[in-house]
Structure formats: C-alpha cells, structure tokens
C-alpha cells in the first residue's frame, strides 16, 4: 500500500511506467530513457518552462503542457513524440535559429567543414562555422541535430549585440543566447548572488546585471556557475575558449585556500584545461569560488613553468641532468652542520611532501631548522589563531546555526563557497552579523554590518564579550551602528544557542590581532559558540600535523617532547637529536650563517641571499632578482598525488590529473632522491601511498590513502610557537601630521609563493595586489589619478605604490596588500600620502 502511495502509474507513449510521486513528466521520461528535448531545464535548477521544447501531449489537458513543469499524476496518458508536438518543437528551434548564428547547425557543408577545416587558423577564411567555442558541446546544436532541422523558414535577424569582453575570466556573446534563464536561476537560486537578471522586454530581453553595469561593478563573484550551465556558446571562459571538449575528468582537492573544495579537473591531451565543481556534498556541495573555477589552467600551464633542473655556473644558468642536480644538492647539503642548514616549505604542498621535508631536515640533516613561512602570514597572532583552530567546528554547522558572526571575512572572491552557505543560512532565517572595516560583499546581505576602523574589531568583540558575560551595562564602542543596535545585536547573540563564529583573513595582520583573537576566543566561550577559522593556506593544518616547524613534531607534538622523539626514532629507525633554537622563517639569521637554504614552493626572501648556497624548488623561476644556485622543477598540485588537510581538519585526496611538464617531479620524490644520494636510510619510498602509510602510523586521523575518511577533526597542538617580539612600535595617532591610516595586509591569494595575480590575468583584475587602495574622494582631494604612483610615509618607512580608487573604503583609510616579508611592524599605521614625482 505504502509502495503504491509513493508511486503513480503513467502511460508514456503507450507504455505503462511506475514513477515516484512528485516527479515531473520530464524526470519520469529521463528515468526511463525516453528522450524529450529541452534546453532550459537543468537538474540543479527550479523548473522554468521557458524554452517550451519539452512540451508533450497529455490526455485531457488543454494546450501542450511542458514536461519540465508538469508533475505526474496517477493514470496520466502522455505522448512525447506525436507529429503535432514534433512540429511545434521544430518551430521553436526555427525561431531560435532565426536570430542565432547557425552555420554550424544547418550549413550544407558542415560535415566537410568539420572534417577538413577544423582548426582555428581557418576560422576567418571559411564560412565561419568554427567561430563558436561551444561547437561540439552545444546543447542547441544537439537538439537541432536530433530533431533534424534542415532549413529555417524565417528571415534571419541577428541581434547584432556587442560581445561583452570587459570583465575578467569569461566573455559574453548574447547573440548566441536563447534566454533559457539557466544562468539567471543559477545566480539567483543556487548562488543567491542575484547579480544576473532578465532585462528589457519582448525581443530585446537580455540577461545581465541591472543598470548596464559590468559584472565587476555589480558584485559578481565570478564563481562561473552561470558559465557551467550555459547550453550555448553565450558564456565562455576566456582561457578555455578554443580548447574544445575535455577528454578526461579527475576529481581532486583545490589548492587555493583552506576550505578544501572538491574540484573536477578537465583534462585534454595531458593538459588541465579547466576546473569545475565536483558533486561532493561534504565540503563545497557543487560550488566553487573564482580561484578554483578559473585560475587553475593559467597557473599550471604558464609558459615559464620550470621543466628541467639547472644550476648557476659562472653567472649563467646551465641546464643539468637530474642525476647531476641530485648529486650537487647532496654534496652541498652534506657539508652543512645541522644549524647551517635551513628548509622552508610551502603549506601549499601535499601532506606527504611536508612530512618528507621535515623528516629530511630532522633525519638527513639532523636539524630542526625546517619551517613553513605560513607562520609569517599569521605573524604575532599565530598562537591565538592556533587556539581557535583547536576549537574549530565543521563548516556544516553554519547550515544549522541560528546566528553567525563573521569577523574579517569577505567571501566575494576567495571562500565564496562559504558565502553561499551564509546566504543560504540567511534564507532559512539565520541572523548574520559581520564585522569588517571595509564595505565587502557580506555588508550588503548580512543583517548587520558593524564597521570599525581597521584594527578596531577588538573593541566590538570586547563589548560583545563583556555583554554576553553578563555585564549588560558595558558601553559599546562608536561605530557606524548606534549603541542601541549594538546592544540589541549582543542580546541576540546571547539568546541564540549554537552560534557559529567565522574568522576570515582580514583580522589577522594587525598589531593588535593577538588580543583581538583572544577576545574572540573569550566571546566564543561565553556564547558556547563554535569557531571556524578559515585558513588562507590549503594545507596549513597539514603542515602543523606534519610538524614542518621548528617547534613541532609530526602529530602536533612539541619538539621538546622526549617521549615523542623516542617514538619517532623507533619508526624512523634512526637516532637523532635535532637542535632547537630561535631560528625560523621570519628570522633566518638567528643562528649560525646558513650554508644551504632549501626553498620548496616558497618565494625567495628579498634583500641579500640568506645563505651561501640556495636551492630553489618550485614550478616557476623566482620573481626576485636573486638567482638560486640550484633550481629544481617541481610538480604542481594537479600533477601530484597526495593529501591536503583543510581548515576543518579533513584529510582529502589530491590526484595526479596530468603529468608534470618536462622533467619536473613531485617535491617528495626530489627530497627522497637527495636523501638517498646522501646515503640516508628511510627515504626508499616508491610512491606516495607508502609515505601516507608511514604518516598513518604516527599521526591520528590518517588512515587509508585511497579512501581517506574525510572526517572533520579539530587540531591539537602541544606547546606554543615562538613569536618574535614585534619591536617597540607605538601608535602615534597624530591626526595632523599623519592624516591617513594605512592598513597593510599580507598577500593572501598565493600559490607556492607566487601571487595568483602575477600568473593569472583575471586574478590581476580582482586581486589588485601591491597597489594602494584609497577612497576616490580622498584621492581626488589629493589630486591623484587612478594609477598614479603615491608616496606613503610613516614614522618608520617610506614606500611608493600605484593608487587605485576603492569606494568601499572609508575616507581617511588606505589599504595595501604586500608580500608577507614586506610587512611593516605597526599595523595599521598613521601615514602621510602624496603624489610621488619619482
């Protein structure tokens, strides 16, 4: 009986089927492989009924209902392919084609054309059949072929619209648009971003942001979800335009931040040509941000990728064989005392690379001088940040939280997947409060945006912490919101149970950040709230667990932990006593002068070479003018196997999708070969699986390499990190002498030491790094034009950056993102600004 209730019997084309109740006719037909053409329906989107192609005949129903919108009913008699229905469908296609370039569809010579003229080079000289990038993947083309349209009865009126190319990452040619509305629904229903809408009426209807603004201006996150669902060539990735159809797909974990999205790499001819969100419910749930969606091919396929090892020889760079390179490295390393060696490894590397790197330092070099410069990103706030990581809750808690507090979080470009979760939370009624000094994308949608001056976040959190601890008379700091509103917000937070606090990157770089994070910690305890810090580095947690820091051993143990050292000696079957001193990546000259500095996936420090011999292992040659003594080509994350551990503590697989270019090798393999050359035991790994097995024996949470459990786990760290005293900077808010407040943040969107903005054209537009952002009114008052070089002077330094107008900044505030090692002590810092005449 129950079975019967859950299904209905329908007759489709004279055959009876049992279909789950609630299915649409289209879903029912798809389930039984009955073809009904459609262009506007999409499995992830609500039924639209716009294209009308899926019309069917249903006995007893007026007109032809659309299969995509009509639910099945008991006893329904459906005919999907009657002559009348087919004729109406053909009419629809003809109407589409009456304004859609269609030589690729109905040209007499298209077969020949496909066979003989299939190169881009011929495009201009043939009849133009090759000018649609979607050729061969176009759904309109497919339906036309299936229904067999040979001619168009109507005169052709092209819309003659200008192709829109002004935005980064993808172009829009609305001449090819059939107004199926998938992009609009994607943007509105799934992403909840509401950037795209239908504009105009009648035949002039067109898709785009309101008021003829560009996508950049209208708050588009460039998530590319619209591009993915476009059935025609209307929306197309710039970087992938002529790549054609992918041959293979490989799901892997994205390497651009600690969210750890599952991404489906699109592969053609052993090249990654694109990245699409993988259907994975655990982390990103079918969504991606601009970095994962658009930045990968340009980054990993860049023409300057390192392909061969080479060394510096008489001032020249000379290609050498791997054998020679390994020998040279082994020679140089062998002559180092433990404290004359340093190894810096990026936390973008896989867990296995990180493990091997620290094992190399500790076992092969007997040294504790291994570090991951991610510590510089967190600066003095590192210990406070780790304390938050130890309390971290899974992102999924956002889906149930009644109230969410975001601090220093902007989800427009990076972490837009989290932004989607936040908007969904708001839709189901959760209160979202954001604390951020600058107008950011959450400012528009959150219930409350509290805007402190840069560094003033602490005072607000302090107020919340005091209020929620019962001190209701605490007086709130002055912000854009009234005291009463702030009190109300504090009350709301106090009353809600299951609050989640999200911590972004833009609250970590202040001089006061340690205190701010400590207050945040206290507030979370008062509220019983879960905290989710969202690390900027994809494998920051992995680097902590693997112990690529002088202070840490694998498993999060302190390097002073004798018991742990004994255990390691047993597993590693060696005796070692790594030296410990104040050395770290922020302080390379703390100990003895280095003989060898080994950089894996890290940028060169600026200034004088920090060691006698520099080994630089990366995917690109260094941007710095310093030439390394030995350069080793490494594999990018698309070219290596391994695991990443995301901010929630999930161990996730990284899959080799393509081969590394030239002779490039994965980092662990290079390290192991050098170690073997040095005659060190314990580096005889033939593949990553074996390394992972060794890690699993040492560190909790690591198990099966092929099927990692992907459990969210909060971190446990023993002891504290050594943090250099930040000098005796004193804020001198002399409003007259230094009228502007400079907020200098470290570069966040970086892969293996290279800013994405330096390698990906679109990223250059959205991540304006190393330029001075300034309110346009301030800038005009200072007689500055966009792009002018500006001299920024504080008590401690003088710097020159080009200026960029950013209306989202308040007046009196200027902001810049700089390389980590260029940060300037006090932050934010009062400065003078004037046009540079250099």
């Amino acid at each position: 009986m129950r079975e019967k209730d859950a299904t209905v019997t329908v007759i489709i084309d004279n055959q009876s089927y049992r279909v789950p109740r609630g299915y649409t006719i289209l879903q029912a037909a798809e389930r039984f492989d009955i073809y009904i053409p459609t262009l506007c329906s999409h499995k992830d989107l609500s039924p639209f009924g716009g294209c009308r192609l899926c019309i069917v005949e249903v006995e007893g129903m007026r007109n032809f209902p659309t299969a995509c919108t009509t639910p099945v009913e008991e006893g329904m008699i459906i005919r999907t392919h009657t002559a009348q229905v087919q004729s109406v469908r053909k009419e629809i296609l003809q109407l589409f084609l009456s304004e859609h370039t269609s030589s690729c569809l109905i040209c007499d010579e298209r077969e020949e054309c496909k066979r003989y003229l299939g190169t881009i080079r011929k495009a201009g000289v043939t009849t133009g059949c090759r000018y649609c990038p979607k050729d061969g993947q176009c759904e309109l083309q497919e339906v036309v072929e299936k229904l067999g349209i040979q001619e168009i009865e109507y005169p052709i009126y092209y819309r003659n619209l200008r192709v829109e190319k002004e935005d980064p990452f993808y172009d829009r040619d609305y001449n090819l648009c059939i107004l199926c509305g998938r992009c609009v629904r994607m943007c509105q229903e799934v992403r909840l971003a509401n950037v795209l809408a239908f504009k105009q009426r009648g035949r002039n209807t067109i898709v785009g942001p309101a008021y003829a603004r560009t996508h950049l201006e209208s708050g588009c996150e460039f998530c590319g979800a619209c591009v993915s669902v476009c059935p025609t060539g209307t929306l197309y990735e710039k970087a992938r335009k002529w790549e054609g159809v992918a041959q293979l797909e490989q799901v892997t974990t994205c390497s651009f931040c600690g969210v750890g999205c599952q991404i489906s790499l699109q592969i053609k001819a052993d090249r990654v040509i694109g990245g699409l969100p993988a259907e994975d419910p655990l982390v990103n749930n079918g969504q991606l941000c601009v970095k994962g969606r658009f930045c990968i091919p340009e980054l990993v396929n860049g023409p300057w990728r390192l392909r061969h090892p080479f060394k510096k020889f008489n001032g020249l760079e000379v290609d050498i064989s791997w054998e020679d390179a390994i020998t040279l490295a082994a020679e140089q390393l062998s002559r180092c005392a433990p404290d004359e060696f340093g190894l810096l490894i990026s936390s973008n590397c896989t867990t296995e690379d990180l493990y091997i790197a620290q094992k190399f330092a500790r076992v092969a070099m007997g040294s504790n001088q291994v570090d991951s410069p991610a510590r510089l990103f967190y600066g003095p706030a590192l210990n406070a940040y780790l304390a938050l990581l130890e309390k971290s809750v899974p992102l999924a808690e956002v889906r149930e939280a009644p109230a969410i507090l975001c601090v220093g979080l902007d989800t427009r470009y990076g972490r837009s997947v989290v932004g989607v979760e936040l908007r969904r939370a708001m839709h189901r009624g959760a209160r979202v409060i954001t604390i951020h000094p600058r107008e950011h994308n959450l400012a528009l949608t959150a219930h409350a945006w509290i805007q402190p001056p840069p560094g003033g976040e602490g005072e607000i959190l302090q107020f919340f912490a005091r209020f929620t601890a019962g001190e209701e008379s605490a007086s709130p700091p002055e912000t854009n919101l009234s005291s009463e509103t702030l009190r109300q917000l504090a009350r709301e937070l106090k009353q809600a149970s299951g609050v989640v606090i999200l911590v972004g990157s833009e609250v970590l770089h202040y001089s006061a950040s340690p205190q701010i994070l400590a207050v945040l910690h206290r507030l979370a305890e008062n509220l019983g709230a879960g905290v989710l810090p969202l690390p900027a580095q994809n494998n920051f947690v992995g680097s902590l667990l693997m112990g690529t820091y002088p202070e840490l051993l694998p498993g999060g143990f302190s390097s002073a932990n004798e018991k742990r050292l004994k255990e390691l000696e047993k597993v590693w079957q060696t005796e070692f006593r790594p030296l410990t001193n104040g050395w770290n990546s922020g302080n390379l000259s703390a100990g003895k002068p280095l003989k060898v500095l080994y950089l894996i996936g890290e940028a060169l420090p600026s200034g004088e070479p920090p060691a006698e011999f520099l080994i630089f292992q990366n995917i690109y040659p260094p941007d710095s003018p310093i030439r390394p003594d030995l350069t080793l080509p490494a594999a990018a994350f698309t070219e290596a196997d391994g695991t990443f551990v995301n901010g929630e503590g999930r161990v996730q697989r990284v899959h080799r999708a393509v081969n590394p270019p030239g002779e490039a090798l994965p980092d662990w393999e290079i390290l192991c070969r050098i170690a073997r050359k040095m005659g060190v035991r314990g580096f005889d790994f033939s593949d990553v699986r074996e390394i992972h097995r060794e890690i699993a024996a040492l560190v909790d949470g690591f198990q099966d390499f092929d099927q990692p459990p992907r459990q969210a786990r909060s971190l446990t760290i023993e002891g504290k990190f050594q943090i250099a005293a930040s000098g005796s900077f004193e804020a001198k808010p002399d409003g007259k002498k230094y009228p502007y407040l400079l907020n200098a943040a470290p570069l966040e969107h970086v892969y293996r030491g290279f800013p994405l903005s330096s390698r990906v054209e679109g990223a250059r537009v959205i991540f304006a790094d190393e330029v001075l952002h300034m309110n346009p009114r301030d800038a005009r008052r200072a007689r500055l034009q966009e792009g002018d070089p500006v001299e920024v002077t504080s008590q401690y330094f003088r710097k020159v950056w080009p200026v960029k107008f950013s209306p989202e900044l308040n007046r009196g505030i200027v902001q810049v993102t700089v390389l980590q090692n260029e940060l300037i002590g006090l932050n934010p810092i009062p400065v003078i600004i004037r046009k540079s005449h250099v």
Binding site: I55, E91, E99
Partner: protein, 607 residues
Amino acid sequence: MVSSPSEKTKIVVGMASCGIAAGAGDVYNALKEKIEKENLPIVLEKTGCIGACYREPLVEVQTPGLPTVIYGDVSVKRLEMILEKHVKNGEVLANWVVKGEGIHTSEDALFEKQVRIVLRNAGEIDPERIEDYLSRQGYQAIRKVLLNMKPEDVINEIRNSGLRGRGGAGFPTGLKWQFARQSPGKEKYIICNGDEGDPGAFMDRSVMEGDPRSVLEGMLIAGYAIGAQEGFIYVRAEYPLAVKRLQIAIEQARERGFLGKRILGTNFSFDISLKLGAGAFVCGEETALIASIEGKRGMPRLRPPFPAVKGLWGKPTNINNVETFANVPWIILNGAKKFAALGTEKSKGTKVFALAGKIKRGGMVEVPMGISLREVIFDIGGGIANDREFKAVQLGGPSGGCVPANLLDTPVDYESLNQTGAIMGSGGMVVMDDRTCMVDVARFFLNFTQEESCGKCTFCRLGTKRMLEILERITRGEGKPEDLDKLEKLAYNIKKGSLCGLGQTAPNPVLTTLKYFRDEYEAHIFEKRCPAKSCRDLIGYRVIPENCTGCTLCARVCPVNAISGERKQVHYINPEICTRCGACYEVCNFDAIEVFSPVELAETVDE
C-alpha cells in the same frame, strides 16, 4: 437625482481623467474663482466619470426648483452662460443637456439601456469624500458581512450570484474565493488587479477614480471570506489620479476604522496598501503581478500551483480585478438573486465597457449581460462616427479578436463571445469603420504584444516578432502567397505552446481577422491593394478636379511640398514626392482629395 432642498445651487464637475483631459480642470477652477470672487451662493463639488466621455467636460447643475441637468461640452465660456441663464434666470439650456430629469435628449439611449451596479456611484459622488460614499450605503455591506454573516455564507452568496471574473477569463469568483479559503495557512492575501493595460480600455481607471471605496469594500469582504489579513491594490503608476483617490480612500477608511485592526469592533483585521506598477502589460497576468509585488521582475510562472494555493510570498492569495471587487458590495446588499436575475444563464450581472474607436459616443457604459453587440454599439454608442459603415469591433484588447458586422447580434456573454474567436476581455470595445484596414489592426495589436512580452518563453518572444514581421511585409505589399499559411501555423503553435495567457492569446487578433477578413489579406498579397485604403505603401492621394476650388489649403499643409497649383486652379499631387500622410485629405473642405489604390488605377488605365 432629485435636487436637494437646500437653497443653494449645487454644481458638480466631472473630474475624472477623461474630464480633466477635456478641460474640466479649467472649468472647475474658473468656477471656483468666480464663486469666491463674486461670493455666489453655489456649492461646488467634483465627481468621477459618468460615462459620457465624448461630451466631457460634463457639469451637473442642481438648482432648487429646477430639474437637475447635466450639461455637456462645457467650456469656460459656456459655463458663464449656464451661470447666467440657468442658475440666475432659472432657464434650462436644453440644447446642451446630456441628461436631465424630464428632458428628452438625443443622448437618452445612452442611459436607458444601462444598468449601473459597478458604476452605481461613479459620477454621483465626490470620490475624495468618504461622507458621499457613506450616504449611498457605503461600507454597509462590510458591516452586514462582519456582523451577520459567516465567511462561508459570504462565499455562498457570491457563488449564488454567478459573478465571474471581470478581468477577462471569467472564472467564477465565488469558487476562486472558496479555493483560497480552503488553502491551508494562516497568512493569506487579497490582491486587486488594477493593471489595466489593453489599448483603448479604461474601465478600471474610471472605477478607481470615480468610486474607489467600492473596490476597497469588495476587497474587505473578500478578505473576510477567505481569511486574509492584508490586501494590495496593484495599480499602474500611469494612473496618477486613481492612485491619489485610492490613497485618500484608504487613509479615510483607516481613520474611520474600516481598515486596520479589529474592524467595526470585530475580530477581523485587514489593511490595504497600494503597489504601483511600472506599466508592463504582462503584469496584468496574475503570477507576473505577484512577482512584481514581491519586487521581482514581472514574469509569469507556471500554474499550477495557482495563487489560491501558492501566491504572494508563497501564501494563499486571491486575485480579482477592480470591476469584480466593485460588484461585491452591491451583491451583498441587494442579494445574489437580484444580481443573478440580470444577464444570461451562464453570465450574470452587468459588464462595463469602454467604447472607443470610430464610435459616436465614446465612453463608459455598463450593460446587463446578454445584450447584443448591436445594441451596445448602435443604440447606446450611437453608431459609427461620421455615419460611416461599421466594419468590425475589437473586443478584449490584444488578447481578443475582431467581430465582423454579420455577428453584431452576438449577445454579450463569455461563451458567445468566445465562439466568435474574440473574448469578453476586460471590457475594451474598439469600433472600426470601413476605412480601417484589418491587416493593419492585426499588425497594431501584435506589435503591442510582442513589445510587451516578458521574453521568458520562446513563442511569445520570438514567435510574435516573426508574425509581426510577416504582417509588416503584407501591409507593405511585399507579402508572399505562402505567408497566410505560415501565419496560421505560427499562430496555432504560439497559442498551443506559450507559457502564459499573454502568449496564448496574442495571435487572436490575427486569427480572427484571418477568419473574417481573409479577403483583405489576400488583396494585400495578391493584388498589392489595401481595400480600406489605409496601408500607406499601397495607396495614393489625388485631387478630384471637379471638386477642387483651388483654395491652396492642401498645398499649405503638405509637409513635403508635394502639392502644386495656382490659386483658384485645380491642384496636383506629385505621387513621387507624396508620403501619403493624409494631411491634405484631412483639411480639404470640398471633398476634393481622394485616396486611391495605384494598382486599381493602373488596371483602369490598361483597360
């Protein structure tokens, strides 16, 4: 309309949009000034549209001892005469009277056959004063409903009355209310659809301008019946006067406790707000209208679910048209039986029509259902302007169709009109004479719908555009023999395959004209001739030498100097230069200009 026994004369100026457009504002202001200046013992008031729009400005004069009369075509100059002769000397100016007690005028037929339910107050009360409404049983219906009737009783009463949706589709109103009532949910909404968009239709505007409170009261009753707490009136921003008067009516109702919390001391709370539409035709479609109120783009969505189940903000919603709501208080007060006694078996009550086009008495009329089109057009409307020949009447706006002369005896009810291929529609009636080209009419309406399509579904967006292109081709004389088949096929597909009512009915004007006036299409295509001599590309203008007096008037108005000729000599129109604008034809006082078909002329010459 018995004169009040007060000693003062009362003058009421018709101040609906039609009156104001004709100059009623000037008349009103002049009169006001004069009264103040000369301290005349006259009470000055204003009212809505009485229906005789073709005679606006209309001024009603109630002088004690004299019959109340309504004067038409009142200018400031005539006003002086009226004040002088009628008010001062007690002398009725019979020639100018449109309507008056005991006075027979040529206009009598206009009023005799009308039954005014919806328009019962329009033109009788000052729409900006609640007292006037109250004095005519205003808000008595809601009182009766709240104090003596259960919601079910109200729905039954409306069902028994046989009232059907006056927006055009004719869905039984009571049934609609019942669905909304049965829908589960605490929050429910009432929406009044005042997005009147058909070219040539202005019934809803007149009701909202002339008697806004009947609409409010109808909505209140509906709100009580279905269990709603809030109502919206969706009215076009292009109706500023209607918006203003609705606003006044809402505010006054709130002040008097007819809107707001615990109305008349009962547990029933209800409030109404206005939502101004930006003038998109498609927003008259109920799902698009709901989207528009929600702040979204006015775009229809699939039904089911119907608004009664899932409407505004996903809550059960009842949408009725302005005229439907205006009927409701009358039905409650006078009983379903009395309403059902009017009309035909399936179409009860009355229907308001806006008479427009080539008709003598253009304006607003309310007639009982079942009356024939002929009676409406010829008896009430006075026939065709300039006594030309009747050709067709267009009903139902862009979704409707053209009914030809031989079907003039079709009774006005939903089913009979549907059979002709036209529809009842919201009540626009555009009358056409023999000089109207039916291909051009179809082109006009299609041009309207294709521009107003929301663009969502393929047929409506592209299909109507392609049809329009074919029609344009035909009116230019470039039609091809296969065009008619193509039009019919495309029209059929658009009707069958479109998403909402706009698309599904958009081909109607083409289909009905093809059905009844196929010969005109064929003349355009095969003979390159426009029988109505209206399509510019297929006609020419020439001088009839026998009639031409050489007055030079035509030559002076010709914008392109195509006319030559000496004074007192027969003039000549150079066809090479002539743009066929018709200016000469319009000004000629001697019928000396004629329109001809160049093709016909060529044939005669050949013979």
